[in-house]
């Protein structure tokens, strides 16, 4: 038994039990295995004590007490089964059932209804109520969520959840007394984050999943607990499927499990239709006379192996490269790099984590030995100060955002948001609203804010004493470096006052527990690597690495970015984040694998494309990657792909790149395979198979195995589990998320004054850095809450929620342009004499700072991606293509029609 901080001993139903002070009686009872009935009480919510079901008798208290909000007291004697208590339970059931309909036979909650269960256990078998039943009028609510108010027991869980947990407040109680209903503003169609929380938390069938309406009886569904494949928050999901139809019917999540503890976002809750999408590739395809035709697996594998062998024979193994998607499992990433490094013998292996996350991993591994969050979700919630920089967290990482919301709303943390964002109360929650002093910065100046924060920490003597004492040289060098950054320059570039920056620095360094989270607007923007290095300085100097409960947290986009890099699907890293140039470590791996591995440092994704264009890379093996769909034309991606002698695309879907491929291999989706994902905290979580793969699709790892065999270099595993075991064995001595003190000491000692100086030199202004497009507005391609990469485009319900990309503008900019929501706008950039443009619908968002606009990156067909600047990080080879300067005008008349939009879609 764990030791309690302040134990309190009480007696419940004759059982003596000891719990932590502050525990509510109902929870103490649960710990003792005693079930006190309840409705409104819920683990996710503060007690409200409205249903009155949990009444108990307490000695020395004349009245019955609600146990859900009664804190335990020493020596308290509680009875939940006394005659008086049991009578009370019966009477409350009688009240609740008085007006409850008897439509259980066709209610989707049937079988998992808390009212049904408690009726069985706690009521007389008949109702004393014989008056006419109240029948609220049935009204339309939402395409996604069904509302049946006659079933509502007014426990307010839904309203409380939407407020307390989500901070959305999209639903409210209206009217009073027994006329109360849960509704939206003026009974409009529901507009919200569609997290599904109200459906999940409703104890009865008042809110149900309309997408699955009348499709199932809960007990008939097969339940598979797995991890979401969309974002790196790493939510635990229960996929509920009909075995006979091999179909997911709905998704739920257990309140007590996973990193999300039952909370989901729209992608998790409503995004499951991509699994059974009709667009899935069902069989291998080979290009014949310019067309892709279906082909039997055995021959497809044979063809792939044969062509790869031939290229290797003709040009050498180094003419072959491979890129794997960060949506694949750890096992697949591990096996993929083995396939390339060992079976083929090429060092050129990379993943989609290159697209920004590698900036974090490279910088943080250098500093602390690994690239994971150093403050897990629990620490975020418990932090006193939280800074979020370079991410609109609700949109990019909704569940991580919930942890930040809890830190503020439950525990009173001080939140500092840094970004070109303002307060906005809307259907989608906004962390800025929870920040007492949000730092609204000039778009693109986030990295300058980081540098200015470091300057403030140094100048204001806010350096963590232990660091100041132990790393004097480093501190002195930083001190010297930041002098190059005068305050007026920092102020002008960031749009913040020096005082505001100093105040934030003071909060960070003064806090007992402080956590900094940073995201794509820092890591996916030019200079991303340097920015993360500067952020690491900030973390070191303010003690985020040394104060318990504090930390520096990189945010990932795709679900397994952390995992694929750690598995060695990167040219610079062997499995376990071992630098490929580290001879000793290589030797150890060679022993484990009993094979020689290539010694050269391979090419990154961006380098591979360049080498293909130059004719040095002849074959590219893409697993779940679609560079043509994601990269702008200015990257030269099409030319690169067309120069290849062999392009293999292995994917659950036929992508744009797939259409150019010589060989298409159908891969299983996440619901059809086993393995593990590593979320951005660094938690390795089990992925479980819920369905048989669609058509002839196979798990990626299985295909790798067959291909290896075809190449005459067997990599034999009977199951994904065998790979997991090997990974565990091989990486048993690798970092587990703790900070490697030796690495950090080395880093602090090695860091040269020159490098630091370069880091803090202000350089040309942000405007001119990004200013190639010549416009007055800063455009950023961003992530949307309702989408994830392009995978979510295959999920029918997510496409219904957000069917098209809209350019988000500050209302004042919109007004200046004469643009209303839904109006088409033309975005233009001038590059020398060439002009590029795209025509897209606009939407006003008060949270977007004036002068800033953003477009969701999930809609490449809109052509907006062609307007951004393309560059590649000199250190990490990260491709940057998320921002640019654009001119915006209202697209009038014929120009505003869909056909022009279609023209823009063709790109330039």
């Amino acid at each position: 038994m764990t030791t309690l901080k302040s134990p309190v001993t009480l007696t419940i139903d004759g059982k003596s039990i000891t719990v932590e002070k502050g525990t509510y009686v109902i929870d103490a009872a649960r710990q003792a295995g005693i079930h006190i009935p309840y409705f409104c009480s819920h683990v996710k919510l503060a007690p409200d004590a409205n249903c009155r079901m949990c009444l108990v008798e307490v000695e020395k208290m004349p009245k019955l007490q609600t146990s859900c909000n009664l804190p335990v007291a020493e020596g308290m004697v509680v009875r939940s089964t006394s005659e008086k208590a049991e009578q009370a339970h019966k009477s409350v059931m009688d009240f609740i059932l008085a007006n409850h309909p008897l439509d259980c036979p066709m209610c989707d909650q049937g079988g998992e209804c808390e009212l049904q269960d408690r009726t069985h256990a706690y009521s007389d078998n008949y109702s004393h109520y014989t008056e006419a039943k109240r029948l609220p009028e049935k009204r339309y609510f939402s395409p996604y969520i069904e509302r049946e108010m006659s079933r509502c027991i007014t426990c307010m869980r839904c309203v409380r959840y939407c407020d307390e947990v989500l901070d959305v407040k999209a639903i409210a109680a209206v009217n009073r007394g027994d006329r109360v209903e849960i509704s939206t503003f003026m009974d409009r169609e529901l507009d919200c984050e569609f997290c599904g929380g109200c459906v999940q938390i409703c104890p009865v069938g008042a809110f149900t999943n309309r997408v699955a309406l009348y499709d199932y009886r809960p007990w008939q569904l097969k339940k598979t607990e797995t991890v979401c494949a969309y974002c790196a928050d790493g939510c635990t999901l229960t996929l509920e499927s009909k075995v006979s139809e091999n179909q997911i019917v709905r998704v739920t999540s257990d309140w007590e499990k996973g990193r999300n503890l039952g909370d989901l976002c729209a992608k998790g809750f409503f995004g499951y239709h991509m699994i059974n999408s009709p667009e899935r590739v069902a069989a291998p395809m080979i290009r014949q006379d310019g067309r892709l035709v279906e082909w039997p697996w055995i021959e497809a594998i044979e063809a792939a192996a044969q062509r790869l062998s031939e290229i290797k024979r003709r040009y050498g193994a180094e003419a072959i490269g491979g890129v794997i998607s960060a949506r694949c499992t750890n096992e697949e990433a591990y096996l993929f790099q083995k396939l390339l490094r060992l079976a083929i013998g090429t060092p050129h292996v990379d993943s989609s984590a290159r697209d920004g996350h590698l900036n974090s991993v490279r910088a943080l591994t250098r500093v602390a030995g690994h690239g994971r969050m150093t403050a897990p979700y629990e620490a975020i919630e418990a932090a006193r100060v939280v800074m979020v920089i370079g991410a609109d967290l609700t949109e990019t990482n909704p569940i991580t955002a919930l942890k930040v919301k809890a830190a503020v709303r439950k525990h009173g943390a001080n939140l500092i948001t840094v970004g070109p964002y303002l307060k906005e109360i809307g259907p989608i929650s906004n962390l800025v609203n929870l920040s007492q002093a949000p730092l609204t910065v000039t778009p693109g100046s986030e990295s300058m804010v980081v540098r200015a924060l470091v300057k403030a920490v140094v100048e204001e003597r806010l350096i963590e004493p232990s660091v100041a004492a132990q790393a004097q040289t480093y501190v002195a060098r930083v001190e010297a470096a930041v002098t190059q950054l005068p305050w007026p320059v920092a102020e002008a570039r960031t749009g913040l006052s020096a005082d505001a920056i100093k105040a934030a620095a003071r909060s960070l360094s003064g806090a007992e527990r402080a956590v900094v989270l940073f995201g794509p607007e820092l890591t996916r923007q030019a200079g991303g690597y340097d920015a993360v290095c500067a952020l690491a300085d900030l973390a070191i100097l303010t003690g985020l690495y040394s104060k318990p409960g504090s930390g520096l947290n990189p945010l990932c986009e795709e679900n397994n970015e952390m995992g694929v890099v750690e598995m060695g699907a990167a040219p610079e890293f062997l499995p376990g984040l071992i630098d490929v140039r580290n001879e000793a470590a290589r030797l150890r791996l060679r022993e484990a694998w009993k094979e020689e591995l290539p010694s050269a440092t391979g090419w990154s994704l961006t380098q591979m494309l360049e080498e293909a264009r130059q004719g040095r890379l002849k074959a590219l093996y893409l697993v779940g990657e679609d560079p043509l769909g994601s990269l702008p034309a200015s990257s030269g991606v099409r030319q690169a792909l067309q120069s290849l002698e062999l392009l293999i695309c292995q994917d659950p879907f036929l992508t744009e790149t797939g259409r150019l491929a010589h060989l298409v291999l159908p891969a299983a989706g996440f619901a059809e395979k086993e393995g593990t994902f590593t979320n951005h905290e660094g938690r390795v979580q089990r992925v479980r198979r819920a369905l048989e793969p669609v058509g002839e699709a196979l798990p990626d790892w299985d295909i790798f195995g067959q291909l290896a065999a075809g190449l005459g270099h067997p990599l034999d595993y009977a199951s994904a589990g065998e790979i997991t075991d090997e990974i565990r064995r091989v990486l048993s001595d690798r970092p587990d998320g703790r900070i490697d003190g030796a690495v950090m000491a080395q880093y602090l000692a090695d860091l040269t004054a020159e490098e630091l100086e370069a880091r803090y030199r202000p350089g040309p202004g942000a405007a001119s850095e990004r200013g190639r497009g010549g416009g007055s507005m800063t455009l950023v391609i961003s992530q949307s809450l309702f989408h994830s990469g392009k995978l979510s485009r295959r999920a029918s319900e997510l496409m219904r929620i957000e069917p098209e990309g809209r350019l988000q503008l500050n209302p004042s900019d919109a007004e200046r342009l004469g643009v209303e929501d839904g109006d088409m706008v033309r975005l233009r950039t001038m590059d020398g004499s060439a002009s590029r443009e795209a025509v897209v619908p606009a939407v006003r968002r008060a949270k977007i700072a004036p002068g800033f606009c953003r477009f969701p990156g999930h809609f490449p067909e809109a052509g907006v991606k062609e307007l951004v600047d393309w560059s590649v990080d000199p250190v990490t080879q990260t491709p940057y293509f998320r921002s640019g300067r654009v001119m915006i005008e209202k697209a009038v008349g014929a120009a505003a029609t869909a056909s022009v939009q279609a023209a823009a879609r063709e790109g330039v």
Binding site: A49, C51, K63, F95, E131, A132
Partner: protein
């Protein structure tokens, strides 16, 4: 009769309740005295010694309530409960309109005692012209330096704001009142924590009724001992305003020393029964109090005596009914009120008020069943004591007490379809009878 305290200015010829008028009658003298002689701690002791008990309904000792505030606190609030919504009660309305400065002076005294620098008057929304009068008085008080910064040079600051409700009986309940000031639905909070520790905006807060606060200047000026000795000492000292309504010759507000009998109030002061019909029943303390019968006429009007006799002095609203009144009808009328006003938070209150109302209406309309007479007390028993606030108890009082005292009348409705008022009314289709409106607006 004994002296009038709170209404002493009411009947002065030409008295308008303006600041000048009030000052002429020693208005704000107590305040000056207080700043000169009483540090807050001593003031609390004084009120404790006076044994002033709250006039809002529960009769809780005011000094004791104040001393529940935590020792360590940064911000404290005072709320003046001017919601006056207990049926049969209309005393605060007259107190506020006749002599608004008396209440304001009381508010400043209480705020000083508890260290509040912000106070709110929560006034029911229906009071429109009353709001104008009080607002004007507040402005006068600011101008004269009785409110605002550094009041009378004492260094004490107080911001007073009139906050108007918008039609909800429940907002008279102290925690619902706090929610309402916070801009939310008026849903009572679960206690503990009590407002003394977690009140308005989560800060230590005292809520006192208008009449309670209006008594403070007098206690200060004339001393705790004086106050403790008048009325019905030791437990119910002081004068109290009773609102008399219903079948009496002279309904209205009567300020009397606590401890006179109901007979004195109804027959001597209020002139006895209108139309000289016999008294059948009366409610001694607002709609939440149990009905009394003529047998209770000699009960002393003091907190404990009334409680001992099976009801409560509550808000001081005395509603008198003669023998023409049907008790089933009266109970049904009040249940309609309670059903309309239930906030809907607690299951037993929300569902129970609907249930009781429907059964009572059925009986009233000649569609009762004898089993209803067992059902009604059973439902009441399942509501009372099991809800977040005392509203649950209140809604059962008319039912339980009329059933206790007038069971025969219920039976007559059911078995013989007979009624003193010429009810039972024509039976109606049970399924569609008495639809309870959903609209509300």
């Amino acid at each position: 009769m004994a002296e009038v305290v709170l209404f002493r200015n009411r009947d002065l010829p030409g008295y308008t309740g303006s600041l000048a008028d009030y000052e002429r009658q020693e208005g704000y003298a107590a305040l000056r005295l207080m700043f000169k002689q009483y540090p807050p701690a001593e003031l609390i002791e004084l009120v404790k010694r006076a044994n002033l008990r709250g006039r809002g309904g529960a009769g809780f000792p005011t000094g004791m309530k104040w001393s529940f505030l935590p020792k360590e606190r940064t911000v404290t609030y005072l709320c003046c409960n001017a919601d006056e919504s207990e049926p049969g009660t209309f005393k605060d309305r007259e107190l506020m309109t006749v002599d608004p400065h008396q209440m304001i002076e009381g508010i400043v005294i209480a705020s000083y005692a508890i260290g509040a620098h912000a106070a709110y008057i929560y006034m029911r929304g229906e009071f429109a012209s009353e709001a104008v009068i009080v607002a004007r008085a507040v402005q006068e008080a600011y101008k004269a330096g009785y409110l605002g910064k550094n009041i009378l040079g004492s260094g004490f600051d107080l911001e007073l704001t009139l906050h108007r409700g918008a039609g909800a009986y429940i907002c008279g309940e102290e925690t619902a009142l706090l929610e309402s000031i916070e801009g939310k639905r008026g849903l009572p909070r679960s206690k503990p924590p009590f407002p003394a520790t977690h009140g308005l905006y989560g800060k230590p807060t005292v809520i006192n009724n208008v009449e309670t606060l209006a008594s403070l200047p007098h206690i200060l000026r004339r001393g705790a001992e004086w106050y403790a000795s008048i009325g019905s000492p030791p437990k119910s000292p002081g004068t109290r305003i009773f609102s008399v309504s219903g079948h009496v010759k002279r309904p209205g507000n009567y300020e009397v020393p606590m401890g006179i009998t109901f007979r004195q109030l109804i027959f001597d002061l209020a002139g006895g029964m209108k139309s000289d019909r016999p008294l059948k029943a009366f409610i001694p303390g607002g709609a939440s109090a149990s009905f009394f019968t003529p047998d209770h006429l000699d009960v002393k009007m003091d907190f404990d005596e009334v409680a001992k006799a099976g009801s409560m002095l509550g808000s001081g609203g005395v509603t008198v009914m003669d023998d023409s009144v049907c008790m089933v009808w009266a109970a049904a009328n009040l249940l309609r009120f309670f059903h309309h006003e239930s906030c809907g938070k607690c299951t037993p209150c929300r569902e129970g008020s609907n249930w009781l109302l429907r059964v009572l209406r059925r009986i009233e309309h000649g569609q009762g069943r004898l089993t209803d007479l067992d059902l009604l007390p059973q439902v009441c028993g399942n509501i009372a004591g099991r809800t977040v606030c005392a509203f649950g108890d209140a809604e059962t009082a008319p039912v339980v007490s009329t059933l206790r005292h007038f069971r025969a009348e219920y039976e007559a409705h059911i078995t013989r379809k007979e009624c003193v008022m010429g009810h039972a009314r024509p039976p109606v289709d049970a399924a569609t009878a008495h639809p309870i409106s959903f609209a509300g607006h």
